[in-house]
């Protein structure tokens, strides 16, 4: 064991000495490799953390959301639907939700306006609400993104022009804590009266309905019954929402990784080329090593240490930088990809989460092919006859 370890240390020493001869080339290779790994690891860590964050946040989403569909589009739903749902056995509570989008012509941003559910129907079964109590008419609570893009703070006035051109003057009561920006960045929370006035929405209609069930295991049955009562509605369960996000992040990660695929491939070709382009000089060197008593296996191992060291260092550097990037610098380099064309962005502070399996996959999918790509040419060069140096 000690013997083996000593031999490996000496082999590494030799490998490093021979790598030092082509310093620029090897450093360049290491840099490119580390950069690729940095991007891959950033995407992996970022989407992993976001997925986790989504799951942690959205466990609070309504158990079932009921959407009325008209001609394939989402339509307003009235109080009759609400009463029908409440009549179903197993439904703990049901309430109409008021929310909608608002395009702010002042800065080109889209806001999500919402009336807290507690404000519409006194919900018997739900626990006391902290955010849920609606503001008084004339007051709003806003998300951090809105506050930033309009430059307002608690106590300031928020002026909004409704779609008809009427000016609404609302007092900012609070800005949601920045830790919640992932879900609250674009929110404008207001009273029901203001909401209906702002959007000229008649009494008795809602954007959609939310309902809670007594026993989560009954959701399927309840949704089946509800579908009979409200045949023109679509039912979205909390599980559906979570699954949507699971698929969404897979999709996003997949897209980015596919984009990276080209770069990875190019790099693999480079690695292959480097390893297979064994110059006559290098072949001679291998011949010398064999003639002075190295076995083929030892020559291969020494050369493999080279690719192993390059890829290990590249992986470590890429991964560590990616961790810093994602969890200490809020994934600044990935934001352009994420943010698209929106005007208003959430400032996300992700809680670090390391998915060991994913990191391991990343490791195996990059280091593995690299070492493998170099193995064949190394092996081919290492089987030279030791007597070649006698010529």
């Amino acid at each position: 064991m000690i013997r083996w370890f000593r031999v490996q240390v000496l082999m590494i020493d030799y490998t490093l000495a021979s790598m030092a001869r082509r310093k620029a080339r090897n450093l360049g290779l290491l840099l490119v490799y580390a950069a690729i790994l940095f991007v891959l690891a950033s995407v992996t860590l970022f989407t992993g953390a976001l997925r986790e964050e989504a799951v942690r946040a959205l466990v609070g989403a309504p158990e079932v959301t009921v959407q009325r569909m008209v001609m394939g589009r989402h339509a307003l739903i009235d109080r009759d639907g609400l009463e029908a749902l409440r009549a179903i056995r197993g439904v703990q509570w049901a309430e109409g939700r008021l929310w909608g989008y608002f395009y702010d012509t002042a800065n080109g941003a889209n806001y999500t306006m919402i009336v807290p559910s507690g404000g519409i129907v006194p919900s018997g079964g739900r626990e006391a609400v902290a955010y849920g109590a609606p503001p008084e008419p004339g007051f709003v609570r806003i998300g951090g993104g809105v506050a930033r893009s309009r430059g307002v703070a608690p106590g300031d006035w928020l002026f909004l022009l409704n779609p008809q051109g009427r000016l609404f003057k609302l007092r900012v009561e609070a800005v949601f804590p920045s830790a919640s920006e992932l879900v609250s960045a674009d929110l404008v929370v207001l009273s029901e009266a203001d909401f209906r006035a702002f959007h000229t929405l008649p009494e008795g209609v809602f954007t959609d309905l939310a309902l809670g069930v007594r026993n989560p295991r009954e959701i399927t049955t309840i949704v089946e019954k509800a579908a009979l009562v409200l045949p023109d509605c679509r039912f979205i369960t909390r599980r559906d929402i979570l699954r949507t996000y699971d698929a969404l992040f897979d999709w996003r990660e997949g897209i980015l990784l596919a984009l990276m695929g080209g770069a990875i491939l190019a790099f693999m070709i480079l690695a292959w080329d480097k390893a297979s382009g064994q110059s006559p000089e290098e072949r001679r060197e291998i011949g010398i090593l064999k003639a002075i008593g190295w076995e083929t296996g030892e020559v291969i191992r020494a050369r493999l240490w080279e690719s192993a060291l390059v890829s290990l260092f590249a992986f470590l550097a890429g991964y560590l930088l990616a961790y810093l990037h994602v969890f200490f610098f809020s994934a600044g380099l990935l934001r352009p990809v994420l943010q698209g064309w929106a005007v208003l962005y959430p400032e996300i502070h992700l809680t670090p989460r390391i998915d060991g399996a994913r990191v391991l996959t990343l490791f195996l999918l990059t280091v593995g092919p690299y070492v493998a790509a170099t193995l064949v040419p190394i092996w081919r060069a290492a089987v030279v006859d030791p007597d070649t140096v006698m010529r």
Binding site: R73, N110, V223, A247, V343, T351
Partner: protein, 128 residues
């Protein structure tokens, strides 16, 4: 001693080099660096665990989601179907034509909504 002159001459010249008879062990340096890197990786794991532990924020966010009745993340605010992908009706991303390119770049990142349907409720590994 066969070449005393050459030798003295040589040691004078090698005086500028390190005097230790043992040249620096590159392998040891590399292995130490590697170990440091691995320790740092372990550090990230610990950091993640620590920050998750102190992260009351997640629960606060979940509370807000419950209280306000939110269903989606505010990641992309430019369009209905990117702001609320889980509530977007199935046709929104393809309003113009099923093959039409998306207007917003994030639309291409989000992908078409999947009609999970009621039948899929019983299976699936999404945590409660």
């Amino acid at each position: 001693m066969v070449f005393p002159v050459a030798r003295r001459d040589g040691s004078a010249r090698s005086g500028s080099l390190s005097r230790s008879p043992f040249p620096p062990n590159r392998a040891a340096t590399a292995l130490v660096l590697l170990a440091a890197g691995l320790a740092a990786v372990l550090g990230t794991v610990l950091d993640a665990a620590f920050r998750r532990g102190e992260g009351e924020t997640g629960r606060g966010t979940a509370r807000m989601v419950a209280d306000l009745g939110l269903t989606d993340l505010a990641l992309f605010t430019e369009a209905r179907y990117t702001r609320n992908p889980s509530l977007a009706d199935l046709h929104t991303p393809f309003q113009d034509h099923p093959l039409a390119l998306d207007h917003f770049p994030s639309g291409s990142l989000i992908g078409p909504p999947t009609p999970w349907g009621q039948a899929s409720l019983t299976k699936g590994e999404v945590p409660e």
